[in-house]
């Protein structure tokens, strides 16, 4: 059973008529998938469909189905699905509804009538996972952007979901903040086996951590597969090619019929292999 399965799923928002077009996609359990595509290509709609907000919240028309943890999303209420799928929206600030850090993280559990003792335990765990321990009584307005985002992650982690979906989490963060967030996600993915799905424009940031990628175009899935496979196809078919990280674009530009390089994930790897390909006289001496 996959974590998420789209089975020939089409959806149209009630007012605009745009949405998703015959999406068939499987997200394996424990994978770290990055979702890419131009603005308007359907990334957010795909995320919404994984949480059941599409179609429950928006209405509209659909065909086909979406299975989350084996169960069809139309069969269960959103809050049920949400217990297994944590969703951090693009506008994570508006997603925060309480006055203090503790209240925010406890919110979902309170609504589920979980006991006070268990709530306290789960809140402590969630805050520890994101590095916000000690800030329980801090007011939301006193938090920085990065802290608010980590709070949003903590508040969805409280219900211990097996799947985590984040819609463009890095737009307001600086490179360090983005790196911290991705490290956190990678940690949750590796140590707790949580399936992670992140929609992002900055693919270079995701490159060291993700193991799968999905590229959307005009409501359809253009490509899916490992990052290497997808980057290669993006470049060869020139679909959303400008988003391919610089390293991979360079690799593609340097490869020929006879000369191939391995999938670089860092500048150092690239330097070593390029150097090895240079005529001996031009090679640099790169000491280890």
């Amino acid at each position: 059973m996959d974590a998420v399965q789209f089975e020939d799923f089409s959806y149209h928002y009630p007012k605009t008529g745009t949405g998703l077009d015959q999406v068939t996609l499987s997200i394996p359990v424990g994978s770290f998938t990055v979702l890419a595509g131009a603005n308007g290509s359907g990334k957010t709609t795909l995320c919404m469909a994984m949480t059941g907000l599409v179609p429950h919240f928006f209405g509209g028309s659909m065909s086909g189905q979406v299975r989350v943890e084996g169960q069809v999303t139309t069969d269960r209420p959103v809050s049920d699905i949400a217990a297994g799928v944590g969703f951090v929206m693009e506008d994570y600030e508006s997603q925060l509804v309480a006055l203090t850090v503790f209240d925010e993280v406890a919110f979902a559990l309170e609504n589920m009538a979980v006991s006070s003792a268990l709530i306290r335990e789960r809140v402590a765990e969630a805050l520890a996972a994101v590095g916000l321990t000690g800030l329980e009584d801090r007011e939301l307005s006193a938090l920085s952007g990065g802290q608010k985002q980590r709070l949003a992650v903590a508040s969805v982690l409280a219900s211990q979901p097996k799947i985590l979906v984040l819609d463009e989490p890095t737009s307001a963060l600086d490179p360090e903040g983005s790196e911290e967030l991705y490290s956190l996600l990678a940690q949750l993915n590796k140590e707790k086996g949580i399936t992670v799905i992140v929609a992002d424009h900055d693919l270079a940031q995701a490159l060291p951590h993700a193991d799968r990628m999905v590229v959307m175009e005009a409501g359809r899935v253009a490509f899916t597969g490992t990052l290497d496979e997808v980057f290669a196809r993006m470049l060869s078919e020139q679909i959303y090619a400008s988003a391919v990280p610089a390293l991979r674009r360079l690799k593609a530009a340097l490869e020929t019929e006879t000369r191939k390089f391995s999938p670089w994930t860092s500048a150092d790897e690239a330097v070593a292999e390029i150097n090895a390909s240079l005529p001996p006289m031009r090679r640099l001496s790169l000491s280890a």
Binding site: S171, P175, A246, A253
Partner: protein
């Protein structure tokens, strides 16, 4: 043109946001402003347009203190495009939105019309001039914000992270627009976290760290020189720059993947496609 002289500033109840920063901006430059969140970038740009008064030091425009007239007067020389376009849009059509600035000025109706038309033309918005701004895509709304600032005919345009939330194609188009404006003599200051963009488009970069200016010079030099501790400043060396730095003797100065690929391919003995840099 714009002189920032030993400016210090602190928000009430907080540690100083800027400490003794000096900067000299000539007409027509294309400058990148980088640094981690909280390093003082936004504060500095706000002082440049007159939003707030420095605690010490001063901001001089053409040799006169900028605070004399306040931001409303500065707006004629220095345009500001905030990060979130939606906070700057409050009219019902694109054209009337862009006209807001000229309406605040004591210009004749003809002058106002010309200013609006020029701004719309420069940003490629003529076709959507009568559209409802909020119904358009974010990249359009970003251009509306730029056009609104351009309508006052500033000599310098400051953009605070204009590419956040934009996809790769939209970023390319925005940078093309900025390049075009710069080519027409409008100075550009780009506050950004995108290192590739800094490398490819800016000639000069200023880096702030904890309220102090720690680097002010050629963008390429920032990344090429290993003595610059960019990591400590919250920056990252773009892969292209890191690779180019190692092969500097054979590649020379490069700013983009295409240039780097072209020069390396040359060394590897292959021929390259002029435009894409791919080996043929």
């Amino acid at each position: 043109m714009l002189e920032i002289q030993q400016v210090s500033f602190a928000y009430p109840g907080h540690a100083p946001a800027l400490k003794n920063v000096s900067l000299s901006i000539q007409a027509g430059e294309f400058i990148g402003l980088a640094g981690r969140n909280g390093s003082g970038k936004t504060t500095l740009t706000r002082l440049m347009v007159g939003l707030g008064k420095p605690a010490s030091g001063q901001v001089m425009l053409d040799g006169k203190p900028a605070n004399d007239g306040g931001p409303a007067v500065m707006a004629r020389s220095v345009g500001y495009v905030f990060q979130n376009p939606d906070r700057q849009i409050f009219r019902d059509t694109v054209a009337s939105e862009v006209a807001y600035g000229p309406e605040q000025m004591d210009w004749s109706d003809d002058e106002r019309q010309v200013a609006v038309d020029d701004a719309l033309a420069m940003t490629g918005l003529i076709e959507v001039a009568q559209a409802y701004p909020r119904g358009l895509a974010r990249s359009f709304r970003q251009r509306i914000a730029i056009a609104s600032a351009l309508a006052l005919k500033p000599r310098l345009l400051i953009l605070d992270e204009p590419t956040s939330g934009q996809d790769a194609e939209e970023k390319k188009q925005l940078m093309q627009l900025l390049g075009k404006l710069n080519g027409q003599g409008i100075g550009v200051i780009l506050v950004t976290h995108d290192m590739e963009m800094l490398l490819e488009h800016t000639r000069r970069t200023v880096v702030l760290h904890q309220g102090e200016k720690v680097y002010d010079g050629a963008t390429q030099e920032l990344f090429a020189n290993p003595s610059h501790d960019v990591g400590a400043w919250g920056l990252r060396v773009p892969d292209v720059a890191a690779i180019a730095a190692k092969f500097a003797k054979i590649t020379g100065a490069v700013r983009s993947v295409e240039e780097l690929a072209a020069s390396i391919n040359h060394q590897l003995g292959g021929k390259t496609d002029e435009k894409s840099g791919a080996s043929v």
